[in-house]
């Protein structure tokens, strides 16, 4: 069953001045547990598509159905809450809260979701163990390497068991070993927890691991390859 579905998704920037078409009539659907890479040259619309799927930006036309609910009709406050409850984000620059420890960063979203303290603590420890940071629970981001920080970010995104995780070039700032470690972890979590992962990436290492690769060119879907692994 499709977790996410886009129908005629179009995004035009500067519609009244010099219109720039970032996405054009994109029709896609993502099933539960998929591991998808969205690839394409710079300016092809990868980030715009991810922003749309994450409810961070509104399309000029078209629909985005998440669990059959059209999120383009939601108001800003509803959309924020929707993101909180259903979507996990992993950013290129980790974007952890520098004043919080690893476990506090991971707990943060669950606190916003108003889970019980006990449950939050249990889940945060469990997921940090899974990403191999069980011994760095109380380290602040500045005390962690880039790879470790990104693993905390992954743990944060997955801790609340979202419907899907959007990762925008998550390996771009990592060395090869850290990138492989991160991909191993994400792949494992994808399999174990059946979480849908959607990456936007240029990184060949990610593309090779993905079970589905969508290629965007000039805002339109130029290829959609599904692989057996």
């Amino acid at each position: 069953m499709a977790v996410i579905e886009t129908i005629g998704l179009t995004k035009i920037y500067n519609e009244t001045i010099v219109p720039v078409k970032a996405l054009h009539e994109v029709d896609l659907s993502f099933d539960q547990g998929e591991f998808t890479s969205i690839v394409g040259p710079s300016g092809s619309g990868k980030t715009t598509l991810l922003n749309m799927l994450g409810g961070l930006d509104k399309p000029s036309s078209g629909q985005i159905l998440i669990n059959r609910k059209d999120i383009t009709t939601l108001k800003e406050r509803q959309l924020t809450n929707f993101r909180l409850q259903h979507i996990g984000f992993v950013f290129q620059s980790y974007n952890l809260i520098p004043v919080l420890t690893a476990i506090e960063n991971v707990s943060f979203i669950m606190l916003l979701q108003k889970h019980s303290r006990k449950k939050i603590d249990q889940r945060a420890r469990e997921i940090l163990e899974q990403v191999g940071l069980g011994d760095r629970l109380n380290a602040r981001p500045s005390q962690l390497s880039g790879g470790q920080q990104q693993r905390v970010a992954v743990a944060r995104a997955l801790a609340s068991r979202p419907d899907f995780v959007l990762a925008d070039e998550p390996t771009a700032n990592l060395d090869t070993q850290s990138a492989f470690n991160l991909l191993d972890i994400m792949e494992k979590l994808n399999r174990e927890e059946n979480i849908t992962l959607i990456f936007s990436t240029h990184d060949q290492r990610v593309i090779e691991r993905a079970r589905r690769v969508i290629t965007l060119v000039d805002g339109a879907v130029a290829g959609d390859e599904k692989r057996q692994q």
Partner: protein, 406 residues
């Protein structure tokens, strides 16, 4: 709870910047409070001097005497009044005075003065007249017609303790009377005009010269609790409508006005200083918001509501302001308490020039608790105002753009 934790820790992310603004708030506030306490101490000193020197808390006169000050405008049949005064528990002490205008002359010079007949023992309990003695005695060991004069007048008349002076005045029949008095003591207050224009004699001596042993122009009284002044004054006025009962506020209107104006202007001064500090806080928080655009964008992206972000920025600003305000107010309080006991001696700066205006050289800074409270309210107001703009800036962030900001 997490929001409070993040906000508090965020303040200390840039320690040097936060410390700079905290120290600015601390010094600014402590200096403002100290300046206010100094001014209040200055006014309070003047107030105490006036009350202690002669005004007392409440005075009772013949209503006509208040305007004309003539010898025949005395208190009519004051026995019942005196009896009542001794029965009112709020009254600590009271004394009767005879007050007339006249001339005092030495062998070489004469001068116009106010002659006040007092009961030396009773007067001591009300005013600090004896405390101003610099030479001689305070009406002690002299049997006939002693006079207690100010240093300035002694200089003018070129007399000293033991000298004889002649005092002329109009008696109750309108005749000019003159009598010889012996200078027994010389006093020096902090107000030169008072020292030059007032002499004190025994009321019994003066009254016998005036021709009425019971003559009373003024009854001065002090209360156990200064704050009861208005209540007691109104009570007496109601009970004895034939007399004019006036409190220190009526007797020294300039003093009351000065006190009120000083308080108002000091609050304004503190507000201006805080306003300046408010812009410092605003600048610090704006920098902090701009520096954290990506982080704030991330918070909104992952599902933190903009209202939470707004509250977080508000909290950070309030924490920063209150940390500075609390340390500033505490430093100010400690400094004021220390100097309030020790005093600030302005003699080196001003010499005797303050005495011309009725002020002493020693100032004891003093600030009422309510001034601290008002300052705290102003800090709260300024802090909230300073917090609003950066917090609104944070509200306008577009998460999709903010998360990619370098």
């Amino acid at each position: 709870m997490m929001l409070i934790k993040i906000a508090w820790r965020n303040i200390w992310r840039n320690t040097s910047r936060s410390l700079t603004i905290l120290i600015a708030i601390m010094i600014g506030l402590a200096a403002a409070l100290m300046a206010s306490a100094f001014s209040m101490g200055f006014v309070q000193q003047r107030f105490n001097n006036v009350i202690e020197r002669f005004v007392s808390h409440i005075q009772i006169h013949n209503p006509e005497f208040v305007h004309d000050g003539e010898v025949y405008q005395y208190l009519d049949k004051p026995q019942k009044l005196l009896q009542s005064l001794s029965q009112i528990p709020e009254i600590k002490y009271f004394t009767e005075r005879t007050k007339i205008n006249g001339m005092i002359a030495s062998a070489k010079v004469s001068a116009g003065v106010q002659i006040t007949g007092i009961k030396p023992e009773a007067e001591q309990r009300l005013t600090d007249l004896k405390g101003w003695l610099t030479k001689g005695t305070y009406f002690e060991d002299v049997k006939r017609n002693p006079v207690y004069i100010g240093q300035e007048l002694a200089n003018k008349l070129k007399v000293d303790v033991g000298s004889r002076v002649v005092i002329n005045f109009q008696d109750l029949d309108g005749d000019i009377t003159a009598a010889s008095f012996k200078v027994v003591g010389i006093f020096k207050t902090i107000e030169l005009a008072f020292d030059e224009g007032t002499v004190f004699v025994r009321r019994s001596d003066l009254n016998s010269l005036l021709g009425d042993e019971a003559l009373t122009h003024e009854i001065a009284l002090i209360l156990n609790d200064f704050n009861q002044t208005t209540t007691v004054k109104n009570q007496l006025q109601q009970q004895f409508p034939a007399y004019e009962v006036r409190s220190w506020e009526n007797l020294s209107e300039e003093l009351l006005m000065m006190q009120e104006m000083t308080t108002q202007s000091l609050i304004f001064l503190v507000f201006i200083i805080l306003l300046g500090l408010g812009f410092g806080i605003l600048n610090t928080m704006l920098m902090s918001v701009f520096e954290r655009t990506r982080e704030l964008g991330m918070l909104i992206a992952v599902g933190m509501s903009k209202m939470h972000v707004f509250r977080m920025i508000m909290l950070e600003t309030l924490f920063l302001s209150f940390t500075g305000a609390i340390t500033g107010m505490l430093s100010g309080f400690l400094l004021i308490s220390w100097l309030g006991t020790k005093g600030i001696n302005l003699a080196g700066l001003a010499g005797d020039s303050l005495a011309i205006y009725g002020y002493g050289n020693m100032i004891y800074p003093d600030l009422e608790p309510q001034f601290y409270f008002q300052t705290a309210i102003m800090v709260l107001l300024i802090a909230v105002l300073s917090a609003l703009y950066p917090a609104f800036k944070a509200l306008k962030l577009v998460p999709a753009e903010a998360v990619r900001k370098e």
